[in-house]
Symmetry: C2
Subunit: 254 residues, 2 copies
DNA sequence: TTTACACCTTTACGCAACGTCAATGTAAAT
DNA sequence: ATTTACATTGACGTTGCGTAAAGGTGTAAA
């Protein structure tokens, strides 16, 4: 009928430390202390502990459990429903993680089989990473999930030849952009060539190209400081220049 | 081309504190320090940070990331594969959690609709909890998943009338057992009545009853200290007595 | 030139939920 | 009477940073 810490701990499958901690934070006080200062728990405490452990199993924080078990009129169903939503979100996140890990494994395996070039190592991954981890969210918001997924799909499906092409294209874009920037005219020949190279570059990542989307991305280069930093680190004002060039190229002003 | 903490932090979408922390734990040292002790990062560090963030996104611990990014010949695929397994386990756990929360919500809703009795509150839940969280694993191991699931199913499907019956039965078992214990004879009339009540009680949880299983559970009452504690808290030796009584009742000695 | 202001530095405490000594006192069993 | 098992409080360690605090720089405007 009465239990010391160890006894209760063993019964409930938790540690004695846990019970002392629960005492400390006030979610499970012992029924009384004996003459030597031992914690003595009764039936009521056993029941309460079971409630606590139940909610703990559900992943509820002790802080929230405190509210649940102390407030007598607390709406359990409501709390559970909220927790349910959180769990579902968590699972979704986890699913994304899992599929990303799976994709990465497939990628690295493919890479290894494909070639042994050290320089190549990690770069395709980085491509996926750049697009996905850094800008994935924004792009998803603006252009939807499908485009991003297809983009990543395309990167993963690239052969080394294609990879080399896109790498070359990347430097070409930058170099042409530099030269064009000197002229100062985003509508000029060089700038339009840069815009065209940029379109080609985009087409390595995108499944379908539209002027609209191209112009949108160009605008984002200016709006998003991380993009701006990337382009402007070469030359201040570069991001804006590229945007203007693309806007001329696509015939779309945003 | 070169970045201070803030710059790099902003670019990568992390805090400056994070970068200092990464420096501290040695997974991302700056390229150099300037004359005033400022951290200066270069392109190599940007790349490395991107790798780090990539793995972080995947939920890998910084400790593991350290191994990945510092050891040049570290088998990435192997590491990812292990992480993959962990993630799958996590998702399984999460699925269990989710279904439990769903069941509990259904249960509490049913309870509320069924009646308004305060005393009843939380107890059916506790029944499921007791069986599942505390003894579920052992019972599953010995008698398989199906029996346990069906048991929980039965509890959840119980009406209040049935619940009252099983509650009454519980006290009857205990009381009869007490009286029988006085006689000291596990083969006597009282003890056999207790064993029979115990069988009836079991049948509220089990879908199919067998002498074998009944005898097995009785033995478990002695083997498992948590069960022993439960029965012995009334009277020391009670668990053994009940086991003996049931063994006589079922005609099975283990 | 001074001053404002943004940015840098290190140091160090705080968070959640305990695990894990350490030092010491008590109950129970031999 | 002594061993053994278990009780107590106290305090530090864990992970991945957030968040001051106290003070030194870098640059641009007044």
């Amino acid at each position: 009928m009465e239990y010391t810490v160890q006894k209760l701990a063993h019964m409930a499958g938790v540690s004695a430390r846990t019970l002392r901690y629960y005492d400390e934070i006030g979610i499970l006080k012992p029924a009384r202390m004996n003459s030597s200062g031992y914690r003595i728990y009764g039936q009521a405490e056993v029941n309460r502990l079971q409630q606590i452990l139940f909610y703990r199993e559900l992943g509820v924080s002790l802080e929230s459990i405190k509210d649940i078990v102390t407030a007598p009129s607390f709406n359990e169903t409501q709390a559970l429903r909220e927790h349910h939503v959180k769990l579902l979100e968590k699972r979704e996140q986890l699913d994304v993680l899992i599929s990303n890990v799976e994709k990465t494994i497939a990628l690295t395996e493919g890479r290894i089989k494909m070639m042994d070039n050290e320089k190549f190592k990690g770069f395709k991954q980085k491509l996926v990473d750049d697009n996905e981890a850094n800008y994935g969210k924004e792009i998803r918001e603006k252009y939807g999930n499908e485009i991003v997924n297809k983009s990543n799909q395309k990167v993963k499906g690239m052969s080394q030849v294609q990879y080399d092409e896109v790498t070359k294209l990347t430097t070409e874009v930058i170099e042409t952009l530099h030269a064009a920037f000197e002229t100062g005219d985003p509508a000029g020949q060089l700038a339009q060539k840069a815009a065209d190279l940029h379109r080609q570059w985009l087409c390595y990542y995108w499944d379908s190209y539209t002027n609209e989307a191209h112009a949108g991305v160009a605008q984002m280069y200016v709006d998003d400081p991380r993009f701006t930093a990337y382009y402007d680190k070469q030359q201040p004002g570069m991001a804006e220049f590229l945007r203007d060039a693309v806007h001329f190229y696509t015939g779309i002003k945003k």
